[in-house]
């Protein structure tokens, strides 16, 4: 076992990370529940990814830019995206992507792997504009099969861009296991194709993730170029609420994975360090539930957008040609309602 990183001595930070991991887990369960009861659209659970997501969040600086996929709520909450915004987006409303904070982060990116090029492009902007900032793009294990991913690595390497790519290897891309995606024994080694460093990290260990990602970001910031990090974790949930994972993977595999899940580990660390106990845990859970419930209430209270919303941000100014269509849309719009 490697020694603990220095920041582990910063009790406030460690507790903050644990609280963030707990909050996202409570939030996640609630979101799945909202979907099951018809109050949310298809939702991609982040169950099991808490250490990887919070570790990355804690390693980034506010002025850095995140290019998420769709599942990395732990990172987004850390950076200031609100639970209400998350629910608003997954509830089928673009306003959820108009983050009050962080204004410069990319929105969720459903077309797999495309976001890696956005991060590289943002990093290119930082380089040209001489801003000491980094971009960080997530990608899934399945996503590493898309050409866009390799192109982004290659561009980043060729132009020495301040960007870090984090693969969340959770074992599955919907029903396809990693071994069916590639013959590469690790996903980190894909960095070799671009001539950039690649490393693996235990994605269920929040200390390790924050340390490795933090180092990569600092290297990028000081001009030492991009890197690729493969965080090994496991998707404990179905792919999304529209999926039934029992069709294609064994219950035993999932059960085994639960033994390694990330919350237990940091909680044990805190308890051993005398920083945590049952009462504190209960208080935290209560606090999280309150926060989540408040966000849900705010989300459910939002009125349906008007049909004008389709036209409002299509261009900076709506071309004349579309004015008539906006009127038609108004005429036939279904009635506004909470849901």
């Amino acid at each position: 076992m490697a020694p603990l990183p220095q920041f582990a001595a910063d009790t406030a930070l460690v507790l903050r990370m644990y609280r963030a991991m707990t909050l996202v887990r409570v939030f996640d369960a609630k979101a799945v529940n909202l979907q099951r009861t018809g109050q949310l659209g298809t939702y991609p659970s982040s169950l099991g990814h808490e250490a990887a997501h919070v570790g990355v969040g804690a390693a980034m600086r506010p002025e850095d830019v995140l290019a998420p996929v769709y599942r990395e709520f732990g990172t987004q909450l850390w950076r200031g995206v609100t639970m209400t915004e998350i629910l608003t987006y997954w509830g089928g409303d673009e306003r959820g992507s108009d983050f009050a904070v962080p204004r410069q982060d990319f929105a969720w990116c459903v077309p797999i792997a495309t976001q890696t090029l956005h991060a590289a492009g943002a990093a290119m902007a930082f380089k040209v504009l001489k801003q000491p900032r980094c971009a960080l793009a997530y990608i899934g294990d399945g996503g590493t099969s898309e050409g866009a991913f390799y192109e982004a690595l290659n561009l980043a390497g060729a132009r020495d861009l301040p960007v870090v790519f984090v693969i969340i290897n959770n074992g599955w891309a919907i029903s396809v296991p990693v071994a069916a995606q590639t013959a590469a024994q690790t996903l980190a080694q894909k960095a070799v194709a671009a001539g950039i460093p690649g490393v693996q990290v235990d994605g269920n260990d929040v200390f390790a993730v924050r340390e490795v990602v933090g180092e990569a970001l600092e290297a990028a910031r000081r001009g030492a170029g991009p890197s690729l990090i493969e965080a090994l974790t496991y998707r404990l949930s179905d792919h999304t609420t529209a999926d039934d994972a029992s069709r294609y993977r064994s219950g035993q595999e999932v059960k085994d994975a639960w033994a390694l899940e990330p919350l237990i580990r940091i909680r044990d660390f805190l308890i051993n360090a005398g920083l945590w106990d049952g009462a504190k845990e209960q208080a935290l859970l209560d606090e999280c539930t309150l926060k989540v419930d408040a966000a849900v209430t705010e989300y459910l209270g939002k009125a349906k957008p008007s049909s004008d919303a389709m036209f409002e941000h299509l261009f900076a100014a709506l071309p004349a040609r579309l004015h008539e269509q906006r009127l038609i849309a108004r005429k036939y719009a279904s009635k506004p309602s909470g849901h």
């Binding site: 298809t42 089928g92 077309p111 898309e146 389709m310 579309l322 849309a329």
Partner: protein
């Protein structure tokens, strides 16, 4: 409808050993909509293959497989994810026969869900058939019922040239119908008249046949008899059937979910303006999606043409 699609796959794989199914999650999972359910168990992993998560790969390997003895039937998980495959479709699949003067050819079917209306996430509700219909050298087909899905998919797989097969998601589960698993294909390149009528012709396809038929029921009550044509093969268009209908009714309304600007409806309107101008008693009406981004699902039913919009458009052709 999704069962009819799985059934057509099964029939053809049983009867043609060169048919191979590929795509993301088509194997053990049977497709995210279950359109390939049970096929891998039945035909094995060589003939029903999960691909890596890469659409250019799916299209590009289809070209290689098809030119060298197989008949790939490929699934792209949603139409919004088809774009990385377009390069291979436009630059190779559609051209291989022409390029090599018939030496190599691409008997490929690419199936993909089409349209919105099922509260799906971003990029899961697209209907950009225009981009495909404009490509010479491929056919574009869109069924509007389980029976037509079965018969047209068989025809598409048997066709010696590439076919894009667009499956309206709203029909996957909504529409149930007895389908005879008899291996009978339906013809490509022709429309289907869903309902005869004498006052107005309505041309539509895919899921919009549902709203159209509902509108027609209401129009009946108002004494307007509409003829409903399911375009079915979106390219090449069977314009003769449409022109004959317009010659009879004198009025044309085109209904589609895709954005209006340079939609397939524009081609139909243009053809009628060229060849049927003197039959028209009123301007052609297009009822289509707006020229906006397909919104997230809270507003998707404000985007997709409603029954009322269709009724009003038809009535408008009588207003002049």
């Amino acid at each position: 409808m999704v069962e009819a699609i799985a059934m057509a796959h099964g029939w053809e794989m049983q009867h043609d050993a060169n048919v191979v199914v590929i795509g993301q999650d088509v194997g053990a999972n049977g497709g995210v909509f279950r359109a390939t359910a049970g096929l891998q168990e039945r035909f094995g992993k060589d003939r029903v293959q999960d691909t890596p998560l890469a659409e250019a790969t799916i299209a590009g390997m289809s070209v290689g497989m098809a030119t060298h003895g197989l008949k790939p039937v490929a699934e792209i998980q949603f139409m919004g994810f088809l774009y990385p495959a377009l390069d291979q479709i436009v630059n190779h699949m559609s051209r291989m026969r022409n390029r090599t003067r018939g030496r190599l050819s691409c008997p490929v079917v690419i199936r993909t869900p089409h349209g919105g209306g099922i509260h799906a996430p971003e990029h899961h509700s697209e209907s950009t058939e225009t981009m495909l219909c404009h490509i010479p050298g491929i056919r574009v087909v869109c069924p509007s019922s389980p029976v037509r899905a079965y018969g047209l998919l068989l025809a598409a797989i048997r066709d010696p040239d590439p076919v894009m097969f667009l499956e309206p998601v709203r029909l996957y589960r909504a529409m149930r119908q007895e389908v005879n698993d008899d291996g009978q294909a339906l013809p490509l390149d022709v429309c289907f008249i869903l309902r005869e009528g004498c006052d107005v012709t309505i041309v539509t396809w895919g899921a919009m046949t549902m709203e159209t038929l509902r509108a027609v029921t209401e129009l009946d009550k108002r004494g307007i008899s509409a003829e409903v044509i399911d375009l079915a093969t979106l390219s090449p268009i069977d314009i003769e059937t449409i022109l004959a209908s317009v010659a009879k009714t004198g009025r044309l309304v085109i209904v589609h979910e895709a954005a209006r600007n340079v939609g397939v409806g524009a081609e139909i309107a243009a053809l009628v303006a060229e060849h049927g101008l003197y039959d028209l008693l009123a301007p052609v009406q297009r009822v289509a999606g707006f020229d906006t981004i397909m919104p997230l699902f809270k507003l998707e039913h404000d985007y997709i043409p409603s029954v009322q919009r269709i009724i009003d458009a038809v009535e408008h052709t009588f207003a002049g």
